[in-house]
Subunit: 305 residues, 2 copies
């Protein structure tokens, strides 16, 4: 189990309370880092960079361990862990935030252990662009850097965010965020503008409608796998990005086939993630089951001869 760490992921770890029309779950494991690390761990050796408080249950530490995630970069500090409470509408897409308590996350400064600094790949999960840059500065010479972001930073830290975007290979963001960032509605135009800011690849996530990858040589559209039931959509975008990076790390290249394969696996792992609360579904998931659904999705999108 002493495999070399290939992918570093930084993000948030939270204890979430989530309400859907039919269920309520309290103090369950959440945060972009949790979803992304576990999703990536199906494909590659991951090192996590995050922070938890003294109230963070030992069982969740063991859970990360069980997935083979390296935790040298996980800071345990006095205080309470980041908490988020959200309520989903009947459509299971729109949600409102009841409360956000940053707690130990407020003073978080990500520090990378020496063993992380020469990893090939970095995923800068959705945290302040300041901190994302701070992580990037500690890396020696990563081969592929992806950053995720959100409306909060586009509105409140645009300058720093633009600086960060200029330094990454790929940016992932929601359709509404792409529109906010570029002040354009057409997604093709949004992607073109973002690529001019630096990244060679832009992934625009559209939730239940899938995701579109734009890059110089083309466009690759991946739908979401049609599910029988969505139990909890929290973290889908983080699972998507984590699985994408994990799969890309495993593939070892950046060619169109590697990128497309990573997109398909990302969509599929994200679809599994939303079938249960928190990261529950990942416990019962294995590569064989992922492959089966990837093959199914391929059949659903395969154009005629």
């Amino acid at each position: 189990m002493n495999k070399k760490i290939k992918l570093i992921i930084v993000g948030s770890i939270g204890l979430d309370t989530i309400e859907t029309p039919r269920h309520k779950k309290e103090t369950i494991l959440g945060g972009s880092l949790s979803y992304a690390c576990l999703a990536a761990s199906f494909f590659t050796k991951v090192g996590m960079v995050g922070v938890v408080g003294t109230d963070f249950p030992k069982k969740y530490v063991n859970l990360y361990k069980g997935f083979g995630v390296n935790m040298e970069g996980l800071q345990h500090v006095p205080g309470k862990t980041f908490r988020w409470h959200g309520v989903y509408d009947k459509d299971m897409i729109n949600r409102r935030t009841v409360s956000t308590d940053l707690n130990v996350f407020a003073a978080f400064t990500p520090e990378l252990p020496a063993s992380y600094r020469d990893a090939e790949m970095v995923m800068l999960g959705n945290i302040s662009p300041n901190l994302q840059i701070h992580v990037l500065d500690q890396m020696k010479k990563p081969r592929f850097v992806v950053a995720d972001t959100m409306d909060l930073w586009i509105n409140n830290a645009r300058g720093t965010l633009v600086e960060l975007i200029g330094r990454v290979d790929m940016l992932t963001l929601n359709d509404s965020e792409a529109r906010l960032l570029t002040d354009k509605h057409n997604l093709k135009e949004c992607a073109r503008i973002i690529m001019k800011m630096g990244p060679k690849y832009v992934v625009i996530k559209k939730g239940e409608h899938g995701a579109i990858l734009f890059w110089k040589e083309g466009t690759f559209i991946v739908p979401a796998y049609p599910l029988d039931e969505v139990m909890d959509p929290t973290g889908a975008g983080d699972s998507f990005a984590g699985a994408f990076m994990g799969c890309l790390a495993e593939c070892g290249g950046r060619g169109a086939d590697c990128i497309k394969t990573a997109m398909l696996h990302a969509s599929v792992v994200a679809s599994f993630g939303v079938e249960d609360f928190s990261v529950e579904r990942f416990h019962k998931l294995d590569r064989k089951t992922i492959k089966k659904r990837v093959d199914e999705l391929k059949k659903m999108i395969m154009p005629p001869r």
Copy 2:
């Protein structure tokens, strides 16, 4: 030019006033029948069933003719043509109706000329299910019948609509309408319920997110072709359905490859349609240009090996 009529389409013909954030166009050709007939005419010989008033400009009659559409089934009656006035939001998706004047459409009873009754394929565009059934009753033995519908009929004529659905091979409707019809949110579940009502095929249209075809043997997901600019989204669903049926008529079969090919062409023809107001874009369109975009779209969705 005396080709046998393969596809009969019934629907509305309108004189539309359309406002977008940047343009306003008055009294332009619209209606589900106009969009569907012209879209289908790229692939097969179409006969139209509809009604216009004495105010209907001769140039639009000539326009249909120019596309080779048979107009024996077009009724010219005293009174004014159906009129619709809509205003699109900035997003070019949501719209509000300023006014709808049924005019001659209010008393419309579709009557099929003898030459239409043994056509192989029928598209029952979005009109009242009563009239759709009336058209179907006049057909001898069509090989493939598709019906489109909308929220108005689901809410106000559910019984008749369900009777109609039981008699068609395929139903096409928007995602919100599928949810309204079945009282379920999950589209896979919606499709399953609709197929139990009769149709072997269900196409759920998702606007800018494309469309999903459900049938017993599987699912085929087709994204919308990513456009540089949408000028006027009116009629996209009608163009989609018309092109689908035209392409299927041309293909001559109902195998998965024919159906998938029709879905791709439908998505592409609809994408051309929204690049300009009314049916303007269809004037400058030919099969070669359609094929080029179909090939482009295929590349964008082609999964990796």
